[in-house]
């Protein structure tokens, strides 16, 4: 028998929350990335993502992906987590975009598609592989940064690198409101589940989902306003202040140099 919609959603929401708590725990673990100055980590991550975009070689892209895997291993970030939360998701979304490129890009035919009167071309395959490879590798670097750094440190690093206060404040608020929303949604569906005494039809379930979305929107708006007011009340003006001071050691400078060297080398090689 298929599981009830509200039950599945409740379980999904709880999983999302526990994943978020696990992510916080990962950033506190001892590890290579966790030990770096967040500012250096942020710049290095950006440099490596730029490298993914710059490279015209699948081999180099594979090299960057392997580098991401090594960084994850050195930082005790589980591969299973990267696989389920990054690679599969990116594969589904980017794969859907990359799929048409296989047949739409003209070039040397590799396979004739039955029924569709189309053919997969070598150039199309290469384009799709680049799109997927770049998306997967870039997302892996970005997620490594997030999983190895407490969120307030990421925001503070952004501010210290000159990212406008409005943007940082929006990111900070979004993160907090996601949790507020997640919490409110969980409570709403738990309350709904506790009052369910019979199976619901598909149409009823869809109506329930639509009604819940409306209620949540207004509820989360109220809660998020209150959270923001509570922050303002204690002197928050959009600037992130933390007790932890960032310290850049020689190792951090070395890492930064290496990370910046990657896009520079790619540009030099492809000149």
């Amino acid at each position: 028998m298929s599981q009830h919609f509200a039950e599945k959603l409740s379980r999904g929401l709880l999983q999302a929350m526990s994943r978020a708590f696990a992510a916080e725990a990962l950033s506190e673990r001892p590890g290579f990335l966790q030990g770096l100055d967040p500012r250096i980590k942020l710049i290095a991550c950006l440099a490596l993502i730029v490298s993914c975009v710059l490279t015209h070689s699948l081999l180099m892209l594979s090299g960057l992906f392997v580098l991401a895997l090594l960084l994850a291993l050195a930082s005790q970030i589980p591969m299973a987590r990267l696989c389920t939360q990054v690679w599969l998701g990116v594969l589904l979304f980017t794969g859907a975009i990359a799929l048409p490129a296989l047949v739409l890009v003209p070039g040397e035919a590799l396979w004739q598609l039955p029924l569709l009167h189309g053919q997969i071309t070598r150039q199309g395959l290469r384009s799709a592989a680049f799109l997927l490879g770049r998306a997967e590798t870039s997302a892996t670097f970005a997620v490594l940064l997030i999983l190895s750094t407490p969120w307030p440190h990421v925001l503070k690093a952004m501010r210290s690198l000159g990212v406008p206060v409005v943007l940082v404040a929006i990111l900070g608020m979004t993160h907090r409101y996601l949790f507020v929303l997640l919490h409110a949604t969980t409570q709403l569906f738990e309350a709904r589940r506790s009052r369910l005494v019979a199976a619901m039809k598909g149409a009823q379930q869809r109506r329930l989902a639509a009604a819940a979305a409306g209620v949540l929107l207004s509820k989360s708006l109220q809660l998020s306003t209150d959270v923001h007011l509570a922050m303002i009340s204690r002197g928050y003006r959009g600037e992130i202040h933390l007790l932890d001071e960032f310290h850049t050691r020689p190792r951090d400078w070395g890492i930064l140099l290496c990370a910046l060297a990657v896009p520079a080398l790619i540009l030099w090689y492809q000149r």
């Binding site: 708590f21 307030p152 809660l223 959270v227 007011l229 509570a230 009340s233 204690r234 002197g235 003006r237």
Partner: protein
């Protein structure tokens, strides 16, 4: 020079087209303990938010420490920080107030925002943790605490700033009896600190303990003002403002009777003068 912390003159505030406060005029003196008493939706929380300069009056004039509170004035960081250093606000729902990853970060949040040096923050946080007996919770996530623990963290996160004025919105709401008692004890202790304390509540049982002056709010207006004894002794006012209600009262013999439930429980249980006893399952019998 006036010793008024807050002066409100014909202050009104509306949420879009819905009037929440209508022509409120009051003065709150430094060092006084004030209760804003009112039923749900009477405008207590809105008034507290105005006093904390989170909202600004739609009409009328609101002054704090002799200066008008306005959106334009608070655009200036200096004005904002000077005010925030002096006024602390404990929200009704601690969940909206606790947004940091750990209890320690939560308590340190205010001082950090107000630019305290690290050397001053660390001992101050440790002091607050010890004062509220929550040192063992310092590395815990605030959203995983019990209601009473959350309230203690919320209070600690405000009191670390040592504000001259403390605004509390329903401080005992949704707390178990022990946690309620702790909060009340804390408010009684504040009597000697010289702080101005403004508490919004509809809990008549705590008014005498926490306030010397009471403003009763009803539908966004001040319905009455007086000492706790004057207000709590005014049965008609309490009924009119929905703060007291007819209460069915069960006795050990399984019978029940009705009386006004406002504040005190030391009424005489005398069959001659009291509401006639009835079984709870029967229709209520009205006095008179």
């Amino acid at each position: 020079m006036s010793d008024c912390v807050f002066e409100l003159n014909e202050v009104s505030y509306a949420y879009q087209n819905q009037l929440a406060l209508d022509g409120i005029s009051m003065q709150i003196r430094a060092g006084s303990r004030v209760a804003l008493l009112g039923a749900n939706g009477s405008g207590k929380s809105t008034l507290l938010r105005l006093l904390d300069a989170l909202y600004f009056p739609g009409k009328g004039e609101l002054k704090a420490f002799g200066k008008e509170l306005s959106e334009a004035a608070f655009a200036d960081d200096e004005v904002n920080f000077a005010f925030r250093r002096q006024v602390g606000f404990v929200f009704q729902n601690p969940d909206v107030q606790l947004f940091n990853p750990t209890v320690f970060d939560e308590i340190a949040f205010g001082p950090l925002q107000l630019g305290w040096p690290k050397e001053k923050i660390l001992p101050a946080v440790a002091d607050m943790l010890a004062r509220f007996a929550i040192s063992h919770l310092k590395d815990r996530a605030p959203h995983r605490l019990s209601g009473g623990e959350k309230k203690r963290v919320a209070l600690a996160s405000i009191l670390i700033l040592a504000p001259q004025v403390l605004l509390l919105d329903e401080p005992t709401a949704a707390l178990d009896p022990e946690s309620q008692s702790e909060v009340i004890r804390f408010l009684i202790e504040c009597r000697n600190t010289g702080q101005t304390i403004v508490t919004a509540t509809h809990d008549l049982d705590i008014v005498e303990e926490i306030a010397d002056l009471v403003f009763v709010l009803d539908q966004g207006r001040i319905a009455a003002c007086g000492t706790p004894a004057e207000i709590l002794g005014n049965e008609a006012l309490l009924r009119q403002t929905h703060l007291a209600h007819a209460h069915w009262h069960l006795h050990a013999d399984g019978k029940a009777h009705m009386h006004l439930h406002a504040h005190r429980h030391d009424h005489p249980h005398d069959a001659a003068t009291d509401t006639p006893y009835r079984r709870l399952t029967r229709q209520p019998v009205r006095r008179g």
